[in-house]
Symmetry: C2
Subunit: 257 residues, 2 copies
């Protein structure tokens, strides 16, 4: 009786706890939008059942929906959703000791580099995050409360230094423009496979977006894993000073426990 009211997080966890919904969410973890029918097939349920699940997920604001003609496209509501799921995966991943030999190649690729909603994760994402932090491009959030008005939802968690603006300009990213977006600016997101944060938020999305636009990285059709191109190898070395090919190969190798 001390506090028998249901905690808020329990309702969210229950949403994530159903197998069908979990499959839907996992499929959307790459940030792409999918139709209700596609998601029904992925979840292995009929269209009515999937519709019910999707309705609940939208009501809980875990998913957002865009109606386009007779199709309805569902996607994750934000990177915070993806971050929470990554965190759950980190918690669930180490326990069962599955020893699945057969899909080691797949998980290896996922560990090397993948998308987490709209930003980069895996070894590649962590390397970029660490590099920006180490070079002083990203500063760990003053939280300057001296002046009032600290709306805790709006202000970014990292700030970008002058050096950071310079570096990101090489990627043709306008930091000020990103900061003007109404979303989280630059937030750490606990990485499922590396157990260290990578960069989420608008800035993380901008970096990932430029990597795809420039052909540095390619999305794989049915996986969150990304492929590094030769141009990407050069570009990432030039901008971030990281040996992406070596890092990603090392992460892929160490796929098993």
């Amino acid at each position: 009786m001390t506090g028998s009211t249901e905690p808020h997080f329990a309702a969210v966890a229950a949403l994530l706890g159903d197998p069908a919904r979990a499959n839907i969410l996992r499929a959307l973890m790459d940030g792409r939008a999918r139709t209700a029918k596609e998601l029904a097939a992925i979840a292995g349920v009929t269209a009515p059942t999937a519709s019910g699940h999707l309705g609940k997920l939208v009501a809980a604001e875990l998913l957002s929906v865009l109606a386009q003609g007779r199709h309805r496209y569902y996607r994750l509501a934000g990177s915070l959703v993806a971050c929470t799921i990554e965190s759950l995966m980190a918690l669930a991943g180490e326990k069962p000791l599955p020893r699945h030999r057969h899909n080691r190649a797949l998980t290896g690729a996922l560990r090397a580099g993948r998308t987490c909603y709209d930003h980069l994760a895996g070894r590649l994402g962590v390397q970029i995050h660490d590099r920006l932090l180490r070079e002083g491009c990203l500063l760990p959030a003053l939280h300057d409360d001296g002046d009032g008005g600290h709306r805790h939802g709006g202000d970014g968690d990292y700030t970008v230094s002058a050096a950071g603006r310079l570096l990101l300009a090489k990627l043709e990213i306008d930091v000020a423009a990103v900061a003007r977006q109404k979303r989280g600016f630059a937030r750490p997101c606990l990485d499922w496979s590396e157990r260290v944060p990578h960069l989420a938020g608008g800035l993380g999305a901008a970096i990932a977006g430029r990597c795809f636009e420039q052909g540095w990285l390619l999305r794989r059709p049915d996986s969150r894993a990304v492929t590094l191109t030769p141009a990407g190898q050069l570009g990432l070395a030039r901008v971030f000073g990281i040996d992406a090919a070596r890092e990603m190969a090392a992460a892929a190798e160490g796929a098993d426990g």
Copy 2:
């Protein structure tokens, strides 16, 4: 049919999704151990029901149990569990816009400073984390894969510099001894209220422990919130160079959205 096997994280989320279990976990978020009977009362269920829940949570390695006489003490299995729940709270917290006026003081105190499993969180925890990072006491994890043997579960995510060892010696913390522990050494943990990582792992626990031992901080009986003592105000200023009273007051003020 693309991938209709249940994702691992769904099972964990389902565990967290039951109201009774969620209440149990929330009660254990302060890192203290409690008996089965206490937890049954907190969850609002009878002893047999609680026993079933606790058994499942232990089987899933979310909880660990210590038998002592005829009592069995349950506690969170590790800081990663606490981190995941914090992440879920962050996801669940912003949506419903609860506008609970009556317990604003409570959430204010929680935002100011609280325990997260065995380490400090809230504004206080974030301040310490940031300070250590800013002063170069904590270095963001090389992840040196050059040599083999990178057991991803064992190595810490932050490393402590010489300056850090010096600073922590002022707290009578032997960094080498902490590093020898079989647990995560120093990991960032996403803070529920501040949306920025604080310091988890053995080092975070050691810092929190010394703060309690020296009477700098007091645990409140039925809350995760901590109270700053005058000695703590002085000590934290001396060791970390932070104005804890001012920071915590500011965080408590901004409790509402």
